[in-house]
C-alpha cells in the first residue's frame, strides 16, 4: 500500500460529505507513473491542484509542491476517468419499476424529457463508479424508445444534480433497431418505421420552425411545444443527436439521417462499426463504443472485443461507455471494459485515452476535464499499478481538489 495521506483524517471525512465548490482543498498528487494524457507518461510526476484547478504538472524534481498542501501518492495516477455514456443515476441499482427512470414508454419520440429532472446523485451506483475512479459521467435517458430523452454530463459527486452538473443538455438520445421497437404491436415495429417516424418528426419541427420565423411572438407559451423545440435545437445543431445503432444498417441509417437533415450525430453502441469504418470516417462522426464485454446477443450478436482496435486503426474518434444493463450487474465500469479492449489489440495508452481525453472530446468537455493540464479541473484517480490489471485496486479519487474516496476498491 503506497497510498499515503499526510493530513488529518478528520478533514478527509469532512471532505467526503462536502460539495467540491465549497470545500476544495489544495492537494498535490505524486505518482511513480503519471499519465497526464497530454503527452507521454511522466516518471515520478506531480500534479498540483489549488482551488479545485490544476496549477502545475510535471516531474517531481522540477515541480515544487507548495507548503501546507496535502500530498497523496500512488504507483500510477491518471486523470479522473470519464464514462462517455451511461444510465447511472437514472437506472437505479435495485432494478425495480420504481427506480428505473431512464425509459418512459408512453410515446416513442420524447426528446423533451430532461435528464436533470431524473438524475439521482445519491444513487448507489454513482458512488460505486466514483470509488473505482470515474469522476465524469455522461448519463441520461436510455435504450428502449426511438427518442428516449436528453442526457447530461455530471461529476460523480454532489448532493443535488445542480452540484454535480457540467452540461445540462448534452445530447438527445435516439435508439435504432430491434431494442427500440414498441411493445405489443405499438409503432415502431420495424427499422423502416423507425426512420419514417423520426424523419416525420424532424420535418414537422422544420415546418414549425419556418412558420415561427414569421411569427412576432414565437416565445408565447401558446406557441411553444417542448418536443418541437428540442428537435429544432437538433436541427439548428445546438445539440447532437446521439443515435444508438448496433447493426451495420442501423449505423448507415443514422449517417443517412444526419446528411438529410444536416444535423450533428454521435454514433453510439456501434457493435458492427468494424463493417462500416469507411462510411464512419467519411461522415466525420465520433463513436461512443459499447462496452467490449456487452453481451453478444440479439442486435449485438456480432460485437467483438476488437472493435475498438479496428476504429483506432481506421482513424475514427471513439470513447468507451458503460451503456445500459437490464440485469446483473446493473452497470459496467469503463475502467474494466477498456481493459478488455486494451488486451485485444487496442493497447494500454489508447485504451486509457478512450476513458479520459478522448471521452472528454466525445462529450464536449475536453476544455475542462480528461487530461492533467494546467487550468483543467483537479480530477485524479490513483491506482496500485497498471489501472487495467484487474488485480490492481483504485486507491483514491480526487474531484476538483476534494479527496472523495480513499478506500482501496
Amino acid at each position: 500500500m503506497n497510498f499515503i495521506a499526510h493530513s488529518k483524517a478528520a478533514f478527509a471525512a469532512l471532505a467526503l460529505a462536502a460539495s467540491p465548490a465549497l470545500f476544495a482543498q489544495d492537494v498535490a498528487v505524486r505518482a511513480d507513473t503519471l499519465h497526464t494524457m497530454a503527452g507521454d507518461p511522466i516518471a515520478d510526476g506531480v500534479v498540483v491542484i489549488e482551488d479545485g484547478v490544476i496549477t502545475a504538472v510535471g516531474p517531481a524534481a522540477s515541480t515544487p509542491i507548495p507548503n501546507g498542501v496535502r500530498v497523496l501518492s500512488a504507483p500510477v495516477v491518471t486523470p479522473g476517468l470519464i464514462d462517455a455514456h451511461s444510465t447511472v443515476g437514472l437506472a437505479g441499482y435495485l432494478n425495480q419499476d420504481a427506480d428505473q427512470d431512464q425509459l418512459e414508454r408512453s410515446a416513442p419520440i420524447q426528446p423533451h424529457l430532461r435528464a436533470i429532472d431524473a438524475y439521482n446523485p445519491r444513487e448507489a451506483l454513482v458512488e460505486w463508479l466514483r470509488g473505482l475512479g470515474v469522476t465524469t459521467l455522461h448519463t441520461g435517458h436510455g435504450p428502449g424508445a426511438l427518442v428516449s430523452g436528453q442526457t447530461i454530463v455530471v461529476k460523480t459527486v454532489g448532493n443535488t444534480v445542480e452540484d454535480a452538473l457540467m452540461v445540462e443538455r448534452a445530447m438527445i438520445a435516439a435508439n435504432f433497431g430491434a431494442r427500440a421497437y414498441g411493445r405489443e404491436g405499438a409503432a415502431p415495429g420495424t427499422r423502416s418505421k423507425q426512420i419514417a417516424m423520426l424523419r416525420g418528426a424532424l420535418i414537422k419541427a422544420q415546418g414549425d420552425m419556418a412558420s415561427f420565423d414569421a411569427d412576432e411572438d414565437e416565445d408565447s407559451p401558446a406557441r411553444r411545444d417542448l418536443v418541437n423545440e428540442t428537435l429544432q435545437a437538433v436541427l439548428a445543431r445546438e445539440v447532437p443527436l446521439m443515435i444508438t445503432a448496433w447493426r451495420e444498417r442501423d449505423i448507415l441509417n443514422a449517417l443517412r439521417l444526419a446528411e438529410e437533415f444536416g444535423i450533428e450525430v454521435v454514433i453510439d453502441g456501434a457493435a458492427e462499426a468494424y463493417l462500416v469504418t469507411d462510411q464512419l470516417r467519411e461522415a466525420g462522426v465520433t463513436v461512443i463504443l459499447h462496452p467490449p464485454r456487452a453481451r453478444q446477443f440479439g442486435d449485438l450478436e456480432n460485437a467483438s472485443f476488437t472493435t475498438a482496435a479496428a476504429l483506432r486503426d481506421a482513424g475514427i474518434p471513439f470513447a468507451f461507455q458503460s451503456g445500459f444493463e437490464g440485469y446483473v450487474p446493473k452497470t459496467r465500469v469503463v475502467l474494466w471494459e477498456a481493459a478488455v479492449a486494451a488486451a485485444n489489440g487496442l493497447g494500454q495508452q489508447d485504451a486509457l485515452a478512450a476513458i479520459t481525453i478522448d471521452a472528454a472530446r466525445a462529450i464536449g468537455v475536453e476544455d475542462r476535464v480528461g487530461s492533467l493540464e494546467v487550468g483543467k479541473h483537479g480530477d485524479v484517480a490513483l491506482f496500485e499499478g497498471d489501472p487495467f490489471e484487474t488485480t490492481n485496486r483504485t486507491l483514491g479519487v480526487v474531484i476538483e481538489g476534494v479527496v472523495v474516496s480513499e478506500t482501496p476498491r
Partner: protein, 461 residues
C-alpha cells in the same frame, strides 16, 4: 477446433469487411458451397490422440503442487502421463515447444448456461424429472466461446425460476456433435449431473403454482422430499408405477446426485442449510452473493460454495449487497469456494478475470486459481479425474501467454482429453475468442442445418 463449416464465418469477415455488406442469405449461400468442399478434407471430430505429446519449456501451474519453471507436460491417450522437469520423453512423442507460455489445468465451471440449455417449463414449481441433457445443443456457438475461454468442464444447468428446475448436465467441452459426445460418465456408464434447486425471489415468479413467500417455498420443498422418502424406502419392484421425478430425488436423498442450490441472501442460505440438515442431501451453494456474511456458518456446516463476483452491485434485489470481497471472506473462513460464470451473466471467456477480481477483493492468488480448478472438481466429486495437472488425470489444460491473472493474458490453446479444441492461431477459432461477424448469429445457427446437408453430400458419394 471448430467444425469445418465454422470457417466460413471468419472468411466472410475478411472478405467482405469494408466493402459491400452481404446479406445473411448471400453469406450463407457462399458458405454452403465452400462448406461442402471443406468438409471432405475435415478430420473426424472426435479423433483420439494417437501418440504421446510433450509440451516443453512452459511454466507449469499444477495447482495441487508448486509451480514448475521450464517444465514438461506429457500426455497420452487423453490422460496426463507426467508433469515435471527432465522427464523421459518417448521417442514417438510429438514435441510442442511452448517456451514462454504458462500451462494450467482447464477451467472447471460449476455453474453455466451454455448450449441453449433449458429445464422446467413453468407448469409447476418442482420438476425433478426434467433433464437438462434433453435440451442442450452441442453445436451451439456458446460452447466454442467457452472453449476459447479455457473452460474444459461445465456444470450446465436449467435456470432458477423454479424451486426445482431439473437435472443438470456435466459437460466435457470436447468437440462433440451429440449430447453423448460431451457427457461425463460414471464407471457404470451413466451420464453425470446434479439437481438444480433455488430459493429466494427467483422461484417466486410467474410459474404456475409458484410459492408466494419464502416460508411456502421451504414447505413445498420439504413436502416433496418427504413424499420422495416414502417412495425411495420401497424396493424398486415394490413401487407400483415408476415416478421419474421421485427416482431422481432418490438419487438426491442417497447422496449420489449433488444438489446445486441457487440462493443469495444470507437468510436464504441458512434456509438451505436447514433443509440439508433435515434431508441429508449433498449440497453445493450456488451464487451465494451474501455467503461472505455467513462464512462461519457455512464453514461450520462443511458446505462448499460455488460463488459469483460481479462488476457492480444491484440489478436485482438479492444482488444489492454483492461485493468483490466475498470470495476472500469465504476463503479466510475455510469454506471450499469455487468461482463460476453463470454464463451469460459472466462471459465464459472471462473466467480468468473472475479469479483476478477475487484477488482484487483480497483472495490469495493461489486460492483464486484453485477456485477455478481443483476446488470445483472437489465440489463435484470429480477431483480424481479433473482439476489439476497430475499423472492419471484427464489431459484437460490450457496454454496461456502469461500470468493467468493478468488481463493482457490470452488463452492460446485449450486441450480436452488430449485434443486441441481451441487454437488462437487459427482464425476459425480466434473469432470465438473475441466475437465478430457471424460468430453468434442466427446465420451461425443455420450452419447446423448445413452440417446435415454436408453429411448428405458425403453419403451420396
Amino acid at each position: 477446433m471448430p467444425r469445418p463449416c465454422n470457417a466460413l464465418v471468419s472468411l466472410g469477415i475478411r472478405d467482405f469487411e469494408g466493402t459491400i455488406i452481404l446479406t445473411t442469405s448471400n453469406l450463407l449461400r457462399a458458405a454452403r458451397l465452400a462448406c461442402a468442399a471443406m468438409a471432405i478434407a475435415a478430420t473426424p471430430h472426435l479423433a483420439a490422440q494417437d501418440r504421446p505429446i510433450a509440451f516443453t519449456g512452459a511454466t507449469i501451474l499444477p495447482i495441487t503442487s508448486e509451480p514448475i519453471e521450464d517444465g514438461t507436460v506429457l500426455i497420452e491417450d487423453g490422460k496426463i502421463v507426467a508433469v515435471g522437469t527432465d522427464l523421459a520423453i518417448p521417442a514417438d512423442a510429438e514435441i510442442r515447444d511452448v517456451r514462454g507460455m504458462v500451462i494450467m489445468p482447464g477451467i472447471v465451471d460449476t455453474h453455466s448456461h451454455i448450449g441453449q440449455v433449458q429445464g422446467a417449463d413453468r407448469s409447476a414449481p418442482i420438476q425433478p424429472e426434467v433433464r437438462a441433457m434433453d435440451s442442450i445443443n452441442p453445436r451451439d456457438f456458446s460452447i466454442e466461446r467457452a472453449q476459447a475461454g479455457g473452460v474444459t468442464f461445465a456444470n450446465v444447468m436449467p435456470g432458477s425460476g423454479h424451486l426445482m428446475s431439473g437435472q443438470t448436465f456435466y459437460m466435457k467441452l470436447r468437440d462433440g456433435e451429440t449430447i453423448e459426445d460431451i457427457a461425463v460418465y460414471d464407471e457404470d456408464g451413466n451420464m453425470l449431473g446434479g439437481m438444480k434447486m433455488a430459493n429466494g425471489t427467483n422461484p417466486m415468479g410467474s410459474v404456475q403454482g409458484a410459492p408466494g413467500t419464502r416460508a411456502k417455498s421451504a414447505a413445498l420443498v420439504r413436502q416433496t422430499f418427504i413424499e420422495a422418502q416414502e417412495y425411495c424406502a420401497k424396493d424398486e419392484d415394490e413401487r407400483e408405477t415408476r415416478d421419474l421425478g421421485k427416482e431422481a430425488l432418490c438419487e438426491v436423498l442417497a447422496g449420489t446426485r449433488l444438489v446445486h442450490h441457487h440462493t443469495h441472501r444470507a437468510d436464504d442460505i441458512m434456509t438451505v442449510l436447514r433443509l440439508q440438515r433435515e434431508f441429508g442431501f449433498r449440497l453445493l451453494i450456488q451464487h451465494g452473493m451474501e455467503a461472505g456474511d455467513v462464512a462461519a456458518e457455512l464453514s461450520g456446516a462443511g458446505v462448499a460454495v460455488s460463488h459469483i463476483l460481479v462488476d457492480a452491485p444491484g440489478g436485482k434485489l438479492e444482488a444489492q449487497n454483492s461485493r468483490i470481497t466475498s470470495a476472500a471472506d469465504l476463503e479466510r473462513a475455510g469454506v471450499l469456494v469455487s468461482l463460476h460464470s453463470d454464463d451469460p451473466i459472466v462471459d465464459s471467456r472471462m473466467m480468468l478475470r473472475q479469479a483476478a477480481l477475487a484477488v482484487r477483493g483480497g483472495m490469495t492468488r493461489e486460492g483464486a486459481l484453485r477456485a477455478l480448478t481443483i476446488n470445483p472438481a472437489l465440489q463435484l466429486g470429480l477431483a480424481d479425474r479433473i482439476g489439476s495437472l497430475e499423472p492419471g488425470k484427464d489431459a484437460d489444460f490450457i496454454v496461456l501467454n502469461g500470468d493467468p491473472l493478468s488481463i493482457y493474458t490470452l488463452v492460446q490453446e485449450t486441450w480436452v482429453e488430449g485434443d486441441l479444441v481451441f487454437d488462437r492461431s487459427d482464425p476459425e477459432d480466434a473469432v470465438f475468442a473475441t466475437g465478430g461477424f457471424g460468430s453468434a448469429s442466427d446465420g451461425r445457427a443455420a450452419f447446423h442445418h448445413l452440417d446435415a446437408e454436408v453429411l448428405n453430400l458425403e453419403n451420396a458419394q
